[in-house]
Symmetry: C2
DNA sequence: TTTTATTTTGTAAACGTTTACATTTTTCAT
DNA sequence: ATGAAAAATGTAAACGTTTACAAAATAAAA
């Protein structure tokens, strides 16, 4: 590997001059410029980014931590993040944590060690203390998730309201016994959705039935398995509200396999509006989150943080939308 | 931000001593150790990774470039890569190129600037010259893709053979007019699959019909649109072989929408065996690539390269498997 | 107690850049 | 030609670590 020193030597100039031509050369005479450029060519010189970053004290890289890369819900958020990053001359790197908290910790540490300029976490599953500490000194923003009583900038939808909306819809179609597939109880977001579900039941004078709540990991497979187990349990239910589209897709599969008609025998509703939800049979009723915009705003906040600006709204809540499709209502609005 | 100097000062020792305790302290007396640790605590000190990496001349980070994060095909490969990386104490960061070559170039440059120790590219769509140059000096391995006549270590399946296998299967079920959905002709991989398709036709005495070839972008939507357009073109076909499962899923959707029975009226076959392929209706006949293993081996080669070892097999070809499901054969083996 | 071996600590150079400042060279008005 | 102003170049410190080597402190042996 050749360094700036080698180039300087070969070109017969000082390293300062080489550095100048590397950065875009304002005050360098044509002939030295030529000499330096030729040396760069000959030596196939590439400046060492680490040294440069060490000097500059920033990297222009940010990390986005996603809980699980195979959940397509995150892809469109990522898009919003990336395009905003690009506009601000930052580059994003994705860290897939496979739902393992230790990985999030690792990257949080990377941030504190200045390996990157900032982090957007789509997860926030990590030890609260570490996160709080990190966030008080370094640029971090959380999207989709949020943390109670912890001053970390975030953007989410109103999960309670959204869950209430979708349950109210199910009930409005005549359903009375709504099963609920939820996930990881340590995530506030799933708790909120459960709370919204409860609120809706109460609002409509229906009883909460503990036997209708099932805990899944947020995947098609797990939704499938839990629905089957629900079916086998003998519990009566005429609708399934899954706290994520992947689980809902699993539920649909299980119900169809058992010969139930959707939505007549059992309606299904999901949450997130992932791409596949409009494509499966029947198309899935769900809550659409403004994914792109969430990404945009999250990155917007992060950029401000990185620049050291003070950010105004600490916790943004973005609007959601109820998308009614045929899994809950024949002839539902297809969108 | 406190530095090692601050810690040394507060603890009343030299920076060398602090450095020693940071790295795991063999020869440091109990009382200085305590003093240093206390100073670290008080100052909330985190060593600067950039400085450390600059000194060590490596980062332990590697980048995996994926063409498109929303293609689930890559997720399992990633898993193989990650677990192998972890075993070797390396960390992977994912760069999603959204099929934009400029992004790949950016990260290639990052490698050449020593920002990371190596790159695994699942794409290789970049200017060949840049890649060749980079690969001759830096650790790079390509997976799933490969480049003609260019000495970059790679691992792929035999795409020609696999495409031939699947077409032969389609023909063996009695199909005679097989449409082919392919993608991005500048990718050798799609060319190979097309070649395999051709080989199979020839082998079976069938004529090549240019009108049955459609170029898509590798997505559900595009597969759907091109199949519709094929249907509208009036061309006769009784099977669709898509060069990727996402496109095949789009094809299934289009065919069903038009009321065609699968596989009786038109069989469908894909390529890759993504998770969704077993779950859709009807389940999709496809080629299974040993995804996890591809990831493992790719990372294995990269580790060797990073360590400066010489690697033996430059271009590995991994075995594939024909998975027959109901989209091509009623009662097809479900796997 | 002295000498020697061992353990702990410190000094300073190095990693590869950038940049303020000083110096030299060039340009141009006089 | 001379001097001043402008432009080009060089010197050296800094960014925050690690580590070979030297020095000092401690422990062990005589």
């Amino acid at each position: 590997m050749s360094t700036i020193k080698d180039v300087a030597e070969l070109a017969g100039v000082s390293i300062a001059t080489v550095s100048r031509v590397m950065k875009g050369a304002q005050n360098v005479s044509p002939k030295t410029l030529a000499a330096v450029n030729s040396a760069i060519q000959q030596l196939n010189y590439h400046p060492n980014a680490l040294a440069r970053q060490l000097k500059h004290q920033h990297t222009n890289n940010i990390i986005v931590i996603i809980p699980d890369i195979s959940n397509t819900f995150f892809h469109e958020i990522l898009l919003g993040i990336e395009e905003t990053a690009e506009k601000n001359n930052m580059h994003i790197l994705i860290a897939d944590m496979h739902n393992k908290p230790s990985i999030e910790e690792y990257y949080l540490k990377a941030l504190m060690q200045k390996e990157v300029d900032g982090i957007i976490s789509l997860s926030a599953n990590v030890a609260q203390q570490l996160l709080t500490q990190a966030a008080s000194n370094f640029p971090i923003v959380i999207a989709c998730q949020y943390l109670q009583n912890i001053p970390v900038p975030s953007i989410t939808i109103d999960n309670i309201k959204a869950a209430r909306d979708i349950c109210n819809h199910l009930i409005s179609t005549g359903k009375r016994n709504i099963a609920h597939l939820t996930a990881l109880p340590n995530f506030l977001l799933y708790q909120d959705r459960l709370n919204g579900y409860n609120a809706s039941l109460k609002e409509n004078g229906l009883d909460f039935q503990a036997g209708l709540i099932r805990y899944c990991s947020p995947s098609v497979r797990s939704g499938y398995e839990q629905t089957l187990s629900l079916l086998d349990s003998g519990q009566k239910f005429d609708a399934v509200f899954a706290a994520g589209d992947t689980m809902a897709i699993g539920a649909i599969r299980a119900l169809k396999e058992r010969g139930l008609r959707i939505p007549e025998d059992c309606a299904v509703a999901g949450f997130d509006d992932i791409e596949m939800s409009a494509l499966i049979e029947p198309p899935l009723t769900t809550i659409r989150q403004p994914k792109y915009r969430i990404g945009e705003e999250a990155m917007g906040m992060l950029v401000a943080l990185v620049k050291g600006e003070h950010i105004q709204k600490q916790n943004i809540v973005a609007p959601h939308q109820l998308i009614i499709r045929e899994s809950s209502e024949k002839g539902g609005i297809k969108k």
